[in-house]
Amino acid sequence: MAQAFYREAIRDALAEEMRRDPRVFVMGEDVAIYGGAYSATKGLMEEFGEDRVRDTAISEAAIAGAAVGAAMAGMRPVAEIMYFDFMTIAMDQFVNQGGKNRYMFGGKTTVPMVLRTEGGAGRCIAAQHSQSLEAWFTHAPGVFVVAPATPADAKGLLKTCIRDDNPILFIEHKMLYGVKGEIPDGEHLVPLGKAAIRQEGSDLTIISYSRMANTCAEVGKKLAADGISAEVIDLRSLKPLDTRTILESVRKTGRVLLVSEACSNTNFVCEIAMRINEHAFDYLDAPIVRVCAADVPVPMSPTLEDAAIPNPDRIMEAARKLAKGEV
């Protein structure tokens, strides 16, 4: 097991898959010479050349759409949208063409592409560079949604996504690129649709993904010190979703805390709550609790950004209250 940064994990996954399969290529804004806004494609151009690592113009719709077309025509593109916030420009191409062509065409095509993007807050870069829009995509049929929290999962899931035949939105997190973690040696693949139990527990279930899964894992440890046994689930894939693991845990704990960095209203965690309600209603000992971002554009000012986004303290407090039956 070697240590690597999340950003290296991404890069290694890309490099390994590009070595394995000549159809895999990378394109996006500043991915080649610059090596990516968050350095996640550094060195790829040097190894694979400008043909397979392509800097594009600032044309998000064309980037996503060209990936769709290239995928349908036999390649396996990994395109990058620099900030999740700019997916707003690529929605039609990714969701209406990429996600639907297979079904609309009677199952007679596949669109094997990965759209990498990077979301989340934490850098005081305000409302158009801090969003978490995964809920839009779990709501969009035909596309998968993956959001790894650790370097190992980033690597293993990205490799799996590249090999999968579906259009996949692969969501990285800007505050994770500089996080280090162990990565299994050799070929490391993580399956889609399998959550990771970051900590086992029996008093409550905390469910999250992406950066917040790490925060929740820390909270879980602190809760343990207080004598509260939290099961911490890191979803990793939001679609396909590992509903079984969630339900098993809920049946055990009867209490659920959902944590997400996206705006609260119609957050993806509402879907999780709905599934728990549908399949494990009788096991619930208390209302499901969510800790999500405030329903506001992410403010720039550090005091407001912190107030808008879930932080360890607020998650901890919510967990304690829930565990103690105060909800």
């Binding site: 113009a57 060209a66 077309g69 025509a73 390649m75 191409q93 297979r102 065409f105 095509t109 579906n166």
Partner: protein
Amino acid sequence: MAMRDPVQGKVGRKDDMRFLLKQMMQIRAFEDKVFELLARDILKGASHVYAGQEAVAVGAMQAITDKDLITSTHRGHGHCLARGGTLKLMLAELCGKETGYCRGRGGSMHIADVNAGNLGATGIVAGNIPVATGAALACKMRNQGQVVLCFFGDGASNNGTFHESLNMAGVWKLPIVYIIENNLYGMSVSVKRACAVQDIATRSSAYAMDGVIVDGQRVLDVQATVAEAVKHAREGKGPMVVEAKTYRYRGHSRSDPRVYRTKEEEAYWHDHDPIKLFRELLAAQKVMTEAEMDAVEAEVDQEMAEAEKFTLDESAYPPAEAVFEDVYAGWIQGKYGLEPIQK
């Protein structure tokens, strides 16, 4: 970069000319049938019919080979037929039958035959321009000499994807020919009121590309002009724009009273009907007799009747239970959400 002159097409071997004529007649017959079935409420949904524009698809498709690719539009029946589609499978698709090209999932606006190189129609105006451009990128990277024909309308040329895609193709010198079917209107809005320039091909200069304007009613001119553009693209000289001036006869939808245009204008274009013009040419050059051409028409009518029978009498709707199939490759909806399909 400059505007090129269109290439004048010459009459060729009789068989080939017969083929062109027949394809145009097939499209016309198909669209007439579509209109009829819409009126009888047998055909559901929206169908944008290609009648009037036949020479564009038929001529252009002659300029490419089997290994090449095309993308189509919401007005895609003509492209599908000319790319080798059969009336049967097309009509079945429009009627939502399991036997159609897309097993009834797509209908008129999403007719596709990906394996035959038709990457499909789209309901999103200008939605396939990036897709076509990406396909051309694949062609370039795979390096097997393929080119892409990307069809779209005058209206589509005002959408942002047009700009982003043509710029991408221009920078990367992709093997693609953008074929603008300028039929003077995007739905009810004339090019005059929607588009700052009237000759859309001139926009190619913004992407350091050659453009050319061709008479879209003359199938041989379209063929020859597109053939030159395809050659240009295939030789690695980069993308090109071909604007075909043409006209759609029907309203945008069945209920469209066409108040945005005049009867005179319609009459002018009917006078320049692509099938009529081609018949006159073939007769004048003594390639085919009127009787021979009428015989083609009769053959087409017969085929159309068979297609109708196939669709209405011999084809079933997809079963309701199939609704979750083929959303994802390798995954299917289960009790708790998506599950991998067990092989």
